[in-house]
Amino acid sequence: MTNTYQLISSNIQKSTSWQQKYREIMLLGKTLPPLADILKTDDALVPGCESKVWMFVEFDLTENALVVIGDSDTRIVKGLLALILALYNGLTPEEVLAVNAYDEFEKLGLISHLSASRGNGVKAMVETIQTMAKQKAL
């Protein structure tokens, strides 16, 4: 887990109301640099989501580190994506496998956003990251 994530996570956990928590998440989304329009291709789109979610998950081979970028046209999903990025970006495959996004979302009281039915792309991103890490860690 990155230091950025630790900071963000403790910030969210300090929220005294769900309103404040969502405000934090949406602010977090605003800090996420928008994807260049040229990258917002249909191929990068997570299918079947109500919100539009574009994502790229790669491993930087020279650094042996995960590179995730993503964007969304909704504020809440974008904030959640930023959370995922903070959680995983720059980690090695082994480190990725050691981090359970479900546990983290549970701690933050956001687990419902990772449920299958939400279809908001966040779960898809987590699963893509985990699958890729498993392959690379072999």
Partner: protein, 406 residues
Amino acid sequence: MSSFDPKKIRNDFPTLNQTINGYPLVYLDSAATTQKPQCVIDATTQFYTSQNANVHRGRHTLSEQATTAYENVRTLVADYFKVTSNEIVWTKGATEAINLVAHGLRNTLTAADTILISPIEHHANIVPWQELAAQSGATLKTLPLNADATFDIAQCCEVIKRTKPALLAITHASNTLGNITDLAPLIASAKAVGALTLVDGAQGALHLRPDLKKLDCDFYVFSAHKMVGPTGLGGLYGRYTTLNALSPYQTGGEMIEKVTLTHSTYRNAPAKFEAGTPNIAGVLGFGAALEYLMKLDLQTLQQYEQQLFIYAASTLSKIDGISIYSNLKSNIGTLCFNYKNEHPYDLSTLLDNYGIAVRSGHHCTQPLMSHLNLNGSLRASFAFYNTTKDVDQFIAALKECIALLD
């Protein structure tokens, strides 16, 4: 609000009496599915507890009782719609009922024929006709639509007259906007050119309780789960001779007269379209739902729903930045709206945290969304078990959500 007592009504619906995320539930998603009164739940329990048996052809007492009860509900539906019971076919929902008709016309339509639909239809009343067109070679056309997604009825009648479709398939009310279609002139025009007419009553059946003989359409489809009844059940009304002329849809037990290894002969409608063991518990539960609804005076009910709708629409429209897409003049009680350029996903997620159940998205009406130039919208859909208190909580929560976003 008139003689109708919403407090008493609410007590009949156990689901409404709960808190969601610490707030009392405000259920504004009845267009997706309605809540169920206790009598419906009891009827289902009662069936499984003491009556459970398969229907038709069983000689033993349980089976006979189940069959009688099951067939009585067919009569009840027929009463509700003022038609005769052999004109009612059980399906698993409105979607299946439309598919049944579309499939049943495959051998009737040819490349010379036109199927006419409207651009406001639910996907369930679009895609089956695309399939039928693809299979039969027929052409699929759409009625014209005003910019605000209402119909210019005179112009539509003109198009029907000109197009001479083999079939007109149109919704009784829009699930996204709540707009009520002025069906009478459209059906009359269709009949004048010899077209069959199918009305998608998924939304209309509850709020408008139509007299189908008066409406004079050939087919009308409905879903029990949108009429305070159980899930997994719906139906098709079909004018008897037209219905019986459709090719069979599913094949199997009960719908056949005689089977040899080389050939089978089918029974007459409605049996012809009811292959396999039906949703018996669903039918009995729906019987209780219909009895419940028929005890409510239609005029009083509609008056109540209209007053509630007008109240909701006027308070909603007072919020700065809200755009409402619904036709407020002729509506079953559904508000389709957005706030500024905010994504409906964000608003519905935040509203849920206040216990407000609304829906966001394209509502299975992508062509309508394209027409309105929207990616999606929020939808608050009301039913007779909602109250002005629901409206007030919804509006208050919406204002707070907006404050969170601004």
